[in-house]
């Protein structure tokens, strides 16, 4: 029997045809806008007209001399690092708890996952209500417990507002990180853990010298996604503080939105958003390394 080589059997042709729409979407609507984002940052584009001209480094020199921008850059770093440090510690601890079997675990897991399921903007508005200056339940509880005598204006004080933002970001990423660490724990070969027990290693020794080193790639993945989600998030700050009081809690995304969209200065907005790139590049490189190690490990 002769082999038919019609198009229906050409795997290479079919492969390309089936992949083409996905690639086209990604190139046209992610790749092109991404390049345009960088291009716009060197232009004097405004939202009003569609024409724009090359403006060289002027947007960059303008924002680098702007105290509000520098503050936003610092806030982005502080919020990202602060919340992710909190997440690593809490997620590792939570994974140790939730790997055990106990009564009501299914319900407990359901509750633990809630912050990840709820839309960021709705979680942020709930937290705005929780931190409300006059009826804050946190203040009431602290006062009723006799832990506080003055008053905390959570979203009205720059330092407290930043702390509130860090808490909300950590709260929102924690379930995601916990579930990833749990998946990592489940994949540690049982023999390794048993061998450690036979050799007389206690809980802490096992945790720090056996499990955590093996978990490192997974924890890295959790942190990397956490960094991307936190550094690039607009909703939490936009709703919780609006960048205030007096622009003290702006982060890069909210400032880019304020200048670029609300202020119609697309060029400057784009230049501010470009400062998100260092966060993303670090994450991308680290991820490639983790994926590469996993690839080598699989061989």
């Amino acid at each position: 029997m002769t082999t038919r080589r019609t198009i229906a059997d050409r795997e290479d042709v079919l492969g390309v045809l089936m992949l083409a729409p996905s690639l086209a979407y990604v190139i046209l609507l992610v790749g092109v806008p991404f390049s345009l984002a960088i291009l716009l940052s060197f232009s004097n584009a405004s939202a009003g007209s569609l024409r724009f001209q090359w403006a060289g480094w002027s947007n960059y020199s303008a924002i680098l001399g702007d105290a509000i921008f520098l503050r936003a850059l610092r806030n982005s770093a502080v919020v990202t690092i602060g919340s992710q440090a909190l997440v690593v510690v809490l997620a590792t601890a939570a994974a140790q708890v939730f790997r055990a079997t106990f009564a009501g675990k299914r319900f407990a897991r359901f509750v633990l996952l809630l912050p990840w399921a709820v839309p960021v903007s709705l979680a942020a508005i709930a937290w705005t209500w929780i931190f409300d200056s006059t009826v804050s339940v946190i203040n009431w509880t602290l006062k009723a417990a006799g832990l506080m005598h003055g008053w905390l204006y959570w979203l009205g004080d720059p330092a407290l507002a930043l702390l509130a933002i860090i808490i909300v970001q950590a709260w929102r990423i924690l379930p995601f990180a916990t579930v990833i660490v749990l998946a990592g724990l489940a994949s540690i070969p049982q023999e390794v853990v048993e061998a450690a027990i036979v050799d007389g290693a206690g809980f802490w020794r096992r945790l720090f010298q056996v499990e955590l080193p093996l978990l490192l790639p997974v924890v890295t993945v959790a942190v990397l996604f956490g960094v991307v989600y936190t550094a690039t998030d607009l909703g939490v700050v936009y709703i919780l503080t609006g960048g205030g009081p007096a622009n003290t809690t702006q982060v890069l995304p909210t400032l880019a939105f304020q200048r670029g969209i609300l202020g119609a200065d697309l060029g400057q907005g784009a230049a501010i958003a470009v400062f998100l790139l260092p966060f993303l590049i670090v994450v991308a490189i680290a991820m490639l390394r983790v994926a590469r190690r996993a690839e080598i490990g699989a061989r």
């Binding site: 059997d9 795997e11 492969g15 089936m18 992949l19 996905s22 979407y25 990604v26 609507l29 992610v30 790749g31 806008p33 991404f34 984002a37 716009l40 569609l50 809490l90 939570a94 708890v97 939730f98 633990l112 996952l113 809630l114 912050p115 399921a117 709820v118 839309p119 903007s121 709705l122 979680a123 508005i125 709930a126 937290w127 209500w129 006059t134 203040n139 006062k143 009723a144 709260w171 579930v179 990833i180 998946a183 990592g184 790639p217 997974v218 993945v221 991307v228 690039t232 607009l234 995304p253 670029g260 969209i261 697309l266 907005g269 784009a270 470009v274 991820m287 983790v290 996993a294 490990g297």
Partner: protein, 280 residues
């Protein structure tokens, strides 16, 4: 041993309180009467954690009857359906191609596509605002339907590719031995095999559209065009007056279906995120 057990329960309870407290707060706020709600926290005798007055449905009635909330739900569902159709039509064939037809470079290319998922809306919303204006899609749900797939396609292509890896090859191979061409395998045999993967894609799309805020905020300006995640925090605030009861009821009603879906599909999503850093 008993002490250890108690420590475990205490820790689990601690995490539950931290994670669940805002949802308890949504729940209790949604059904409290206003005079029970707006008592200053400096009044230590008025306990805000419980109902001091009988619960009321007034806020829910206001939300469903006198706000645009039902409209936002419809808008959101419309966008979900449209984006899900686009995503399935584009990402599922791509995932199949990468897993079964592309050979060695499939994985690399798949990872390249996945990486675009990391490029955040907050970097792209400025060029998109120009593109959307050019296409005349400003203040239209069409803008969201065009742009949301930029987030769902990369993730879902990767998800389908990973999913197909775990489906044995032999069924399709046998079909080809039985005389099917590769195209016939793709059209007749593969869809049945990919079904659970397609379901995951639809669910992921649903959760993403429900949660997205940045693009909605950038492109939609009139209240009747908004989606739930935009309308509730932005447009339920009348002037300077926050209707906290209705606001929290809206947040609660939106969270419940998402929470249920997340619980059912969490493991599938996680496989996508861990990218081989976890070997099952």
């Amino acid at each position: 041993m008993k002490l250890k057990r108690m420590g475990l329960y205490a820790a689990a309870l601690g995490f539950m309180v931290f994670a669940g407290f805002p949802f308890y707060w949504m729940l209790i706020t949604s059904f409290k009467q206003n005079r029970d709600l707006y008592v200053g926290a400096s009044d230590v005798k008025h306990i805000p954690w419980i109902f001091n007055d009988p619960p009321t449905l007034e806020h829910v009635r206001l939300l469903l009857g006198q706000t645009a909330f039902p409209r936002w739900v419809l808008n959101t569902l419309l966008v979900v359906v449209a984006v899900a159709v686009i995503t399935v039509a584009v990402a599922v064939p791509a995932g199949y191609s990468l897993a079964r037809l592309a050979g060695r470079w499939g994985e690399r290319l798949g990872m390249g596509i996945f990486f675009t998922y990391l490029i955040p809306p907050t970097l792209l919303f400025i060029p998109f605002s120009r593109l959307v204006a050019l296409l005349g899609l400003n203040n239209s749900l069409g803008a969201l339907i065009l742009i949301y797939p930029t987030m769902t396609i990369p993730f879902c292509t990767w998800l389908v590719m990973g999913f197909l890896r775990s489906v044995p090859w032999e069924i399709e191979e046998q079909a080809m031995i039985d005389g099917y061409s590769r195209l016939e395998v793709i059209l007749r045999v593969a869809p049945r095999l990919i079904m659970p993967g397609i379901l995951t894609v639809v669910v992921f799309t649903f959760t993403l559209v429900m949660q997205e805020f940045v693009y909605a905020l950038t492109f939609l300006s009139s209240v009747e065009k908004m989606t739930v995640s935009l309308g509730v925090p932005i447009a339920l605030v009348r002037g300077d007056v926050y209707h906290w009861g209705s606001l929290m009821a809206a947040a609660l009603f939106t969270s419940i279906p998402l929470a249920i879906v997340y619980n059912l599909f969490i493991d599938r999503f996680i496989q996508g995120f861990t990218m081989g850093a976890v070997k099952g």
